[in-house]
Subunit: 235 residues, 2 copies
Protein backbone atom coordinates (compact mmCIF):
# COMPACT_ATOMS: atom_id res chain seq x y z
CA UNK A 1 0.00 0.00 0.00
CA UNK A 2 1.16 3.52 -0.87
CA UNK A 3 0.45 6.63 1.26
CA UNK A 4 -1.00 9.10 -1.24
CA UNK A 5 -1.30 12.79 -0.46
CA UNK A 6 -2.74 13.96 -3.78
CA UNK A 7 -3.30 12.85 -7.39
CA UNK A 8 -3.75 15.52 -10.06
CA UNK A 9 -3.27 16.43 -13.70
CA UNK A 10 -2.74 16.37 -16.53
CA UNK A 11 -0.51 19.40 -16.26
CA UNK A 12 3.04 20.22 -17.29
CA UNK A 13 6.11 19.11 -15.41
CA UNK A 14 7.43 22.52 -14.41
CA UNK A 15 11.07 21.69 -13.79
CA UNK A 16 14.13 19.53 -14.37
CA UNK A 17 14.98 17.20 -17.17
CA UNK A 18 11.39 16.72 -18.40
CA UNK A 19 10.46 20.41 -18.08
CA UNK A 20 7.33 21.09 -20.12
CA UNK A 21 6.26 17.42 -20.39
CA UNK A 22 2.54 16.70 -20.19
CA UNK A 23 2.18 14.53 -17.11
CA UNK A 24 0.00 13.39 -14.21
CA UNK A 25 1.23 13.75 -10.62
CA UNK A 26 1.03 11.24 -7.77
CA UNK A 27 2.28 12.87 -4.58
CA UNK A 28 3.16 10.57 -1.72
CA UNK A 29 3.08 11.48 1.97
CA UNK A 30 6.09 11.32 4.26
CA UNK A 31 9.62 12.62 4.10
CA UNK A 32 12.87 11.94 5.92
CA UNK A 33 13.92 15.58 5.35
CA UNK A 34 12.47 18.84 6.67
CA UNK A 35 13.80 21.43 4.22
CA UNK A 36 13.40 25.00 5.46
CA UNK A 37 11.95 26.12 2.12
CA UNK A 38 9.99 22.96 1.26
CA UNK A 39 7.07 23.83 -1.05
CA UNK A 40 5.16 20.70 -0.04
CA UNK A 41 5.39 20.81 3.76
CA UNK A 42 1.88 19.42 3.95
CA UNK A 43 3.34 16.05 2.94
CA UNK A 44 5.20 15.81 6.24
CA UNK A 45 4.17 18.52 8.75
CA UNK A 46 0.90 16.87 9.79
CA UNK A 47 -1.36 19.74 8.66
CA UNK A 48 -3.01 17.53 6.05
CA UNK A 49 -2.57 14.14 7.61
CA UNK A 50 -6.32 13.45 7.37
CA UNK A 51 -6.00 13.65 3.58
CA UNK A 52 -3.49 10.78 3.37
CA UNK A 53 -4.98 7.69 1.76
CA UNK A 54 -3.41 4.24 1.79
CA UNK A 55 -3.95 3.07 -1.79
CA UNK A 56 -2.96 0.05 -3.87
CA UNK A 57 -1.24 0.51 -7.22
CA UNK A 58 -4.45 -0.55 -8.98
CA UNK A 59 -6.48 2.04 -7.05
CA UNK A 60 -3.97 4.78 -7.90
CA UNK A 61 -4.04 3.85 -11.58
CA UNK A 62 -7.85 3.81 -11.54
CA UNK A 63 -7.93 7.31 -10.04
CA UNK A 64 -5.34 8.58 -12.55
CA UNK A 65 -7.64 7.46 -15.38
CA UNK A 66 -10.72 8.83 -13.61
CA UNK A 67 -9.11 12.27 -13.39
CA UNK A 68 -6.95 12.31 -16.52
CA UNK A 69 -9.02 10.12 -18.84
CA UNK A 70 -7.03 9.14 -21.91
CA UNK A 71 -5.20 12.46 -21.89
CA UNK A 72 -1.84 11.29 -20.53
CA UNK A 73 0.93 8.77 -21.10
CA UNK A 74 3.36 10.07 -18.47
CA UNK A 75 3.16 10.03 -14.67
CA UNK A 76 5.41 11.86 -12.21
CA UNK A 77 5.83 10.41 -8.74
CA UNK A 78 6.61 13.17 -6.28
CA UNK A 79 6.57 13.68 -2.54
CA UNK A 80 7.58 13.95 0.17
CA UNK A 81 10.22 11.39 -0.59
CA UNK A 82 8.76 8.52 -2.64
CA UNK A 83 12.01 6.58 -2.16
CA UNK A 84 10.81 5.77 1.37
CA UNK A 85 8.07 3.55 -0.05
CA UNK A 86 9.00 -0.07 -0.61
CA UNK A 87 5.88 -1.03 -2.57
CA UNK A 88 6.12 1.66 -5.26
CA UNK A 89 7.54 -0.86 -7.74
CA UNK A 90 4.10 -2.38 -8.28
CA UNK A 91 2.79 1.02 -9.45
CA UNK A 92 5.81 1.62 -11.71
CA UNK A 93 5.32 -1.79 -13.36
CA UNK A 94 1.59 -1.24 -13.78
CA UNK A 95 2.14 2.18 -15.39
CA UNK A 96 4.68 0.71 -17.80
CA UNK A 97 2.24 -2.09 -18.68
CA UNK A 98 -0.30 0.63 -19.47
CA UNK A 99 2.22 2.38 -21.75
CA UNK A 100 2.94 5.27 -19.42
CA UNK A 101 6.41 6.61 -18.79
CA UNK A 102 7.29 7.34 -15.17
CA UNK A 103 9.40 10.17 -13.75
CA UNK A 104 10.36 10.59 -10.11
CA UNK A 105 12.27 12.98 -7.87
CA UNK A 106 14.05 12.13 -4.62
CA UNK A 107 16.85 13.65 -2.55
CA UNK A 108 19.10 10.60 -2.82
CA UNK A 109 18.94 9.61 0.85
CA UNK A 110 17.56 6.13 0.17
CA UNK A 111 17.67 3.49 -2.56
CA UNK A 112 14.96 1.09 -3.65
CA UNK A 113 15.34 -1.52 -6.40
CA UNK A 114 12.31 -0.19 -8.31
CA UNK A 115 14.10 3.16 -8.78
CA UNK A 116 16.12 1.45 -11.53
CA UNK A 117 12.90 1.18 -13.56
CA UNK A 118 12.05 4.90 -13.47
CA UNK A 119 12.31 6.48 -16.94
CA UNK A 120 13.47 9.89 -15.73
CA UNK A 121 14.93 9.77 -12.24
CA UNK A 122 15.99 13.07 -10.70
CA UNK A 123 18.26 13.02 -7.68
CA UNK A 124 18.07 16.38 -5.91
CA UNK A 125 20.56 16.71 -3.03
CA UNK A 126 19.65 19.49 -0.63
CA UNK A 127 21.96 22.53 -0.33
CA UNK A 128 22.90 24.37 2.92
CA UNK A 129 19.93 26.77 2.82
CA UNK A 130 17.62 23.79 3.39
CA UNK A 131 19.24 23.34 6.85
CA UNK A 132 19.47 19.65 6.05
CA UNK A 133 22.76 17.85 6.24
CA UNK A 134 22.83 15.78 3.05
CA UNK A 135 25.04 12.73 3.67
CA UNK A 136 27.26 12.54 0.60
CA UNK A 137 28.50 9.03 1.42
CA UNK A 138 24.93 7.75 1.30
CA UNK A 139 24.37 9.77 -1.88
CA UNK A 140 27.41 8.02 -3.39
CA UNK A 141 25.96 4.60 -2.63
CA UNK A 142 22.49 5.51 -3.96
CA UNK A 143 23.97 6.83 -7.21
CA UNK A 144 26.30 3.81 -7.50
CA UNK A 145 23.27 1.51 -7.23
CA UNK A 146 21.50 3.44 -10.02
CA UNK A 147 24.36 3.76 -12.50
CA UNK A 148 24.58 3.40 -15.42
CA UNK A 149 20.86 4.25 -15.47
CA UNK A 150 19.73 7.49 -17.02
CA UNK A 151 19.59 9.59 -13.89
CA UNK A 152 20.02 13.33 -13.59
CA UNK A 153 21.04 15.63 -10.76
CA UNK A 154 19.30 18.81 -9.71
CA UNK A 155 20.34 21.29 -7.04
CA UNK A 156 18.13 24.19 -5.93
CA UNK A 157 20.11 27.38 -5.39
CA UNK A 158 19.04 30.21 -3.09
CA UNK A 159 22.41 31.82 -2.32
CA UNK A 160 26.16 31.60 -2.83
CA UNK A 161 26.63 28.77 -0.29
CA UNK A 162 24.06 26.74 -2.22
CA UNK A 163 25.84 27.55 -5.46
CA UNK A 164 29.12 26.24 -4.04
CA UNK A 165 27.28 23.08 -2.99
CA UNK A 166 25.85 22.73 -6.53
CA UNK A 167 29.34 23.01 -7.95
CA UNK A 168 30.63 20.40 -5.50
CA UNK A 169 27.88 17.96 -6.50
CA UNK A 170 28.41 18.56 -10.24
CA UNK A 171 32.14 17.95 -9.89
CA UNK A 172 31.56 14.87 -7.74
CA UNK A 173 29.48 13.27 -10.54
CA UNK A 174 30.64 15.04 -13.71
CA UNK A 175 29.17 12.45 -16.10
CA UNK A 176 25.60 12.94 -14.87
CA UNK A 177 23.35 15.55 -16.51
CA UNK A 178 23.22 18.49 -14.13
CA UNK A 179 20.44 21.01 -13.46
CA UNK A 180 20.80 24.18 -11.39
CA UNK A 181 17.36 25.40 -10.37
CA UNK A 182 16.57 28.82 -8.97
CA UNK A 183 15.11 28.65 -5.46
CA UNK A 184 11.66 30.04 -4.71
CA UNK A 185 11.61 31.90 -1.36
CA UNK A 186 8.11 33.28 -2.02
CA UNK A 187 6.01 30.48 -0.57
CA UNK A 188 3.49 32.99 0.67
CA UNK A 189 1.05 33.64 -2.16
CA UNK A 190 0.40 37.17 -1.02
CA UNK A 191 3.90 38.21 -2.11
CA UNK A 192 3.63 41.04 -4.60
CA UNK A 193 5.16 40.73 -8.09
CA UNK A 194 6.01 37.09 -7.44
CA UNK A 195 6.83 36.23 -11.09
CA UNK A 196 8.95 39.33 -11.58
CA UNK A 197 10.96 38.57 -8.45
CA UNK A 198 11.49 34.94 -9.42
CA UNK A 199 12.64 35.92 -12.91
CA UNK A 200 15.07 38.42 -11.40
CA UNK A 201 16.54 35.70 -9.17
CA UNK A 202 16.66 33.38 -12.18
CA UNK A 203 18.59 35.97 -14.18
CA UNK A 204 21.10 36.37 -11.34
CA UNK A 205 21.64 32.60 -11.23
CA UNK A 206 22.15 32.54 -15.00
CA UNK A 207 24.75 35.32 -14.68
CA UNK A 208 26.56 33.36 -11.96
CA UNK A 209 26.76 30.18 -14.05
CA UNK A 210 27.63 31.95 -17.30
CA UNK A 211 30.79 33.47 -15.86
CA UNK A 212 31.89 30.25 -14.12
CA UNK A 213 34.14 28.16 -16.34
CA UNK A 214 33.91 25.22 -13.94
CA UNK A 215 30.17 24.96 -14.63
CA UNK A 216 29.83 24.36 -18.36
CA UNK A 217 27.98 21.10 -18.80
CA UNK A 218 24.89 22.36 -16.99
CA UNK A 219 21.29 23.49 -17.42
CA UNK A 220 19.95 26.51 -15.53
CA UNK A 221 16.19 26.36 -15.11
CA UNK A 222 13.28 28.03 -13.35
CA UNK A 223 10.13 26.30 -12.11
CA UNK A 224 7.66 27.05 -14.90
CA UNK A 225 4.64 26.26 -12.73
CA UNK A 226 5.61 28.87 -10.11
CA UNK A 227 6.02 31.49 -12.85
CA UNK A 228 2.47 30.82 -14.03
CA UNK A 229 0.60 29.66 -10.97
CA UNK A 230 2.68 30.84 -8.02
CA UNK A 231 2.26 28.21 -5.28
CA UNK A 232 -1.23 27.04 -6.18
CA UNK A 233 -1.80 23.39 -5.31
CA UNK A 234 -3.09 20.83 -7.82
CA UNK A 235 -1.58 22.27 -11.01
CA UNK B 1 33.01 30.18 -45.76
CA UNK B 2 30.02 30.80 -43.51
CA UNK B 3 27.92 34.03 -43.51
CA UNK B 4 27.82 35.01 -39.83
CA UNK B 5 25.33 37.55 -38.49
CA UNK B 6 26.32 37.43 -34.83
CA UNK B 7 28.28 35.39 -32.29
CA UNK B 8 27.40 35.71 -28.60
CA UNK B 9 27.31 33.99 -25.25
CA UNK B 10 27.62 32.14 -23.04
CA UNK B 11 23.93 32.33 -22.23
CA UNK B 12 21.15 29.83 -21.75
CA UNK B 13 19.32 28.12 -24.58
CA UNK B 14 15.86 29.53 -23.98
CA UNK B 15 13.74 26.95 -25.76
CA UNK B 16 13.19 23.45 -27.08
CA UNK B 17 14.84 20.19 -26.16
CA UNK B 18 17.94 21.76 -24.59
CA UNK B 19 16.02 24.47 -22.72
CA UNK B 20 18.20 25.92 -19.96
CA UNK B 21 21.51 24.58 -21.39
CA UNK B 22 24.56 26.84 -21.08
CA UNK B 23 25.58 27.53 -24.66
CA UNK B 24 27.22 29.90 -27.14
CA UNK B 25 25.27 31.10 -30.20
CA UNK B 26 26.46 31.39 -33.80
CA UNK B 27 23.73 33.03 -35.88
CA UNK B 28 24.03 32.69 -39.63
CA UNK B 29 22.63 35.13 -42.18
CA UNK B 30 20.14 34.20 -44.86
CA UNK B 31 16.81 32.40 -44.88
CA UNK B 32 14.57 30.75 -47.47
CA UNK B 33 11.50 31.65 -45.36
CA UNK B 34 10.01 35.04 -44.43
CA UNK B 35 7.89 34.22 -41.38
CA UNK B 36 5.45 36.99 -40.49
CA UNK B 37 6.46 36.85 -36.81
CA UNK B 38 10.19 36.10 -37.27
CA UNK B 39 12.15 37.34 -34.25
CA UNK B 40 15.38 37.53 -36.26
CA UNK B 41 14.27 39.38 -39.38
CA UNK B 42 17.62 41.13 -39.47
CA UNK B 43 19.12 37.85 -40.70
CA UNK B 44 17.23 38.16 -43.99
CA UNK B 45 15.54 41.56 -44.42
CA UNK B 46 18.67 43.48 -45.39
CA UNK B 47 18.55 45.91 -42.45
CA UNK B 48 21.82 44.55 -41.04
CA UNK B 49 23.46 43.28 -44.19
CA UNK B 50 26.59 45.34 -43.50
CA UNK B 51 27.11 43.26 -40.33
CA UNK B 52 27.35 39.96 -42.22
CA UNK B 53 30.87 38.53 -42.12
CA UNK B 54 32.10 35.67 -44.28
CA UNK B 55 34.09 33.57 -41.82
CA UNK B 56 35.92 30.26 -41.88
CA UNK B 57 35.19 27.59 -39.26
CA UNK B 58 38.55 28.31 -37.61
CA UNK B 59 37.75 32.05 -37.42
CA UNK B 60 34.35 31.34 -35.87
CA UNK B 61 35.88 29.00 -33.31
CA UNK B 62 38.55 31.58 -32.50
CA UNK B 63 35.88 34.23 -31.90
CA UNK B 64 33.79 31.85 -29.77
CA UNK B 65 36.81 31.38 -27.49
CA UNK B 66 37.61 35.10 -27.55
CA UNK B 67 34.11 35.93 -26.30
CA UNK B 68 33.29 32.86 -24.20
CA UNK B 69 36.77 31.91 -22.94
CA UNK B 70 36.75 28.46 -21.36
CA UNK B 71 33.23 29.00 -20.09
CA UNK B 72 31.35 26.80 -22.58
CA UNK B 73 31.25 23.32 -24.05
CA UNK B 74 28.09 23.67 -26.10
CA UNK B 75 27.38 25.75 -29.22
CA UNK B 76 24.00 26.46 -30.82
CA UNK B 77 23.89 27.20 -34.53
CA UNK B 78 20.91 29.37 -35.33
CA UNK B 79 19.72 31.61 -38.14
CA UNK B 80 18.24 32.46 -40.44
CA UNK B 81 18.29 28.92 -41.76
CA UNK B 82 21.73 27.35 -41.22
CA UNK B 83 20.68 24.38 -43.35
CA UNK B 84 21.25 26.60 -46.41
CA UNK B 85 24.99 26.56 -45.75
CA UNK B 86 26.93 23.74 -47.37
CA UNK B 87 30.21 24.36 -45.53
CA UNK B 88 28.84 24.21 -41.98
CA UNK B 89 30.11 20.65 -41.55
CA UNK B 90 33.67 21.93 -41.10
CA UNK B 91 32.56 23.99 -38.08
CA UNK B 92 30.56 21.09 -36.60
CA UNK B 93 33.59 18.79 -36.90
CA UNK B 94 35.91 21.40 -35.40
CA UNK B 95 33.59 21.98 -32.44
CA UNK B 96 33.37 18.24 -31.80
CA UNK B 97 37.15 17.99 -31.95
CA UNK B 98 37.28 20.71 -29.30
CA UNK B 99 34.84 18.74 -27.09
CA UNK B 100 31.86 20.97 -27.70
CA UNK B 101 28.38 19.64 -28.32
CA UNK B 102 26.44 21.28 -31.14
CA UNK B 103 22.73 22.06 -31.33
CA UNK B 104 20.93 23.51 -34.34
CA UNK B 105 17.47 24.62 -35.41
CA UNK B 106 16.07 24.63 -38.92
CA UNK B 107 12.61 24.59 -40.47
CA UNK B 108 13.16 21.34 -42.36
CA UNK B 109 13.10 22.80 -45.86
CA UNK B 110 16.58 21.58 -46.78
CA UNK B 111 18.92 18.72 -45.91
CA UNK B 112 22.70 18.75 -45.63
CA UNK B 113 24.81 15.70 -44.80
CA UNK B 114 26.47 17.46 -41.83
CA UNK B 115 23.06 17.77 -40.13
CA UNK B 116 23.44 14.08 -39.20
CA UNK B 117 26.35 15.08 -36.93
CA UNK B 118 24.39 17.65 -34.88
CA UNK B 119 23.94 16.52 -31.28
CA UNK B 120 20.53 18.14 -30.77
CA UNK B 121 18.80 18.88 -34.04
CA UNK B 122 15.47 20.68 -33.86
CA UNK B 123 13.21 20.67 -36.91
CA UNK B 124 10.66 23.46 -36.61
CA UNK B 125 8.04 23.42 -39.39
CA UNK B 126 6.24 26.71 -39.72
CA UNK B 127 2.50 26.91 -38.94
CA UNK B 128 -0.16 28.88 -40.87
CA UNK B 129 0.30 32.13 -38.89
CA UNK B 130 3.81 32.43 -40.34
CA UNK B 131 2.21 32.89 -43.81
CA UNK B 132 4.72 30.37 -45.11
CA UNK B 133 3.61 27.28 -46.96
CA UNK B 134 5.69 24.53 -45.40
CA UNK B 135 6.08 21.75 -47.98
CA UNK B 136 5.37 18.55 -46.05
CA UNK B 137 6.69 16.29 -48.82
CA UNK B 138 10.08 18.01 -48.57
CA UNK B 139 9.84 17.80 -44.77
CA UNK B 140 9.25 14.04 -45.13
CA UNK B 141 12.41 13.63 -47.18
CA UNK B 142 14.52 15.78 -44.83
CA UNK B 143 13.34 13.79 -41.79
CA UNK B 144 13.83 10.48 -43.64
CA UNK B 145 17.45 11.47 -44.37
CA UNK B 146 18.00 12.22 -40.67
CA UNK B 147 16.35 9.17 -39.11
CA UNK B 148 17.14 7.34 -36.92
CA UNK B 149 19.14 10.29 -35.58
CA UNK B 150 18.08 11.96 -32.35
CA UNK B 151 16.05 14.76 -33.84
CA UNK B 152 13.14 16.58 -32.28
CA UNK B 153 10.23 18.55 -33.68
CA UNK B 154 9.02 21.94 -32.49
CA UNK B 155 6.00 23.91 -33.66
CA UNK B 156 5.32 27.48 -32.58
CA UNK B 157 1.64 28.08 -31.85
CA UNK B 158 -0.05 31.48 -32.03
CA UNK B 159 -3.67 30.42 -32.62
CA UNK B 160 -6.01 27.50 -33.16
CA UNK B 161 -5.01 27.01 -36.83
CA UNK B 162 -1.39 26.71 -35.68
CA UNK B 163 -2.45 24.24 -33.01
CA UNK B 164 -4.16 22.06 -35.61
CA UNK B 165 -0.97 22.21 -37.68
CA UNK B 166 1.08 21.18 -34.62
CA UNK B 167 -1.23 18.23 -34.09
CA UNK B 168 -0.92 17.26 -37.76
CA UNK B 169 2.89 17.32 -37.55
CA UNK B 170 2.99 15.35 -34.28
CA UNK B 171 0.71 12.68 -35.73
CA UNK B 172 2.72 12.54 -38.97
CA UNK B 173 5.89 11.69 -37.00
CA UNK B 174 4.60 10.18 -33.73
CA UNK B 175 7.93 8.61 -32.76
CA UNK B 176 9.81 11.94 -32.71
CA UNK B 177 9.98 13.99 -29.49
CA UNK B 178 7.52 16.84 -29.92
CA UNK B 179 7.60 20.39 -28.53
CA UNK B 180 4.71 22.86 -28.69
CA UNK B 181 6.06 26.37 -28.11
CA UNK B 182 3.96 29.41 -27.33
CA UNK B 183 4.28 32.12 -29.98
CA UNK B 184 5.59 35.57 -29.08
CA UNK B 185 3.58 38.31 -30.86
CA UNK B 186 5.25 41.06 -28.82
CA UNK B 187 8.25 41.77 -30.99
CA UNK B 188 8.02 45.45 -30.14
CA UNK B 189 9.93 45.97 -26.89
CA UNK B 190 7.74 48.85 -25.89
CA UNK B 191 4.84 46.45 -25.25
CA UNK B 192 3.67 46.84 -21.67
CA UNK B 193 3.62 43.83 -19.31
CA UNK B 194 5.37 41.69 -21.88
CA UNK B 195 6.21 38.80 -19.51
CA UNK B 196 2.74 38.72 -17.98
CA UNK B 197 1.12 38.57 -21.43
CA UNK B 198 3.46 35.81 -22.62
CA UNK B 199 2.79 33.74 -19.51
CA UNK B 200 -0.94 34.19 -20.02
CA UNK B 201 -0.63 32.91 -23.61
CA UNK B 202 1.54 30.07 -22.35
CA UNK B 203 -1.09 29.08 -19.79
CA UNK B 204 -3.76 29.05 -22.52
CA UNK B 205 -1.61 26.77 -24.66
CA UNK B 206 -1.06 24.45 -21.69
CA UNK B 207 -4.84 24.30 -21.13
CA UNK B 208 -5.39 23.45 -24.82
CA UNK B 209 -2.89 20.57 -24.76
CA UNK B 210 -3.95 19.23 -21.38
CA UNK B 211 -7.53 18.63 -22.52
CA UNK B 212 -6.52 17.10 -25.86
CA UNK B 213 -6.15 13.32 -25.61
CA UNK B 214 -4.56 13.18 -29.06
CA UNK B 215 -1.60 15.22 -27.76
CA UNK B 216 -0.11 13.21 -24.90
CA UNK B 217 3.50 12.54 -25.81
CA UNK B 218 4.39 16.24 -25.94
CA UNK B 219 6.23 19.05 -24.17
CA UNK B 220 4.67 22.52 -23.87
CA UNK B 221 7.29 25.21 -23.44
CA UNK B 222 7.79 28.99 -23.36
CA UNK B 223 10.88 30.86 -24.54
CA UNK B 224 12.74 31.49 -21.28
CA UNK B 225 14.89 34.25 -22.80
CA UNK B 226 11.84 36.31 -23.83
CA UNK B 227 10.39 35.97 -20.31
CA UNK B 228 13.60 37.44 -18.88
CA UNK B 229 14.99 39.67 -21.58
CA UNK B 230 12.05 40.38 -23.88
CA UNK B 231 13.51 40.72 -27.39
CA UNK B 232 16.94 42.02 -26.48
CA UNK B 233 19.62 40.95 -28.95
CA UNK B 234 22.80 39.17 -27.91
CA UNK B 235 21.54 37.26 -24.86
Amino acid sequence: MIPVMEIFGPTIQGEGIVIGRKTMFVRTAGCDFRCSWCDSRFTWDGTMKDDIRMMSAAEIYHELREIGGQSFNHVTISGGNPALIKDMGVLVDLLHKENCQVAMETQGSKFQNWMRDIDQLTISPKPPSSHMNQNLDILDTVIAELMPQKINLKVVVFDEADYQFARQIHHRYPAIAFYVQVGNPYLDDTVDKHTEKLLSRYEQLIDRVMTDDTMNNVYVTPQLHTLIWSNKKGV
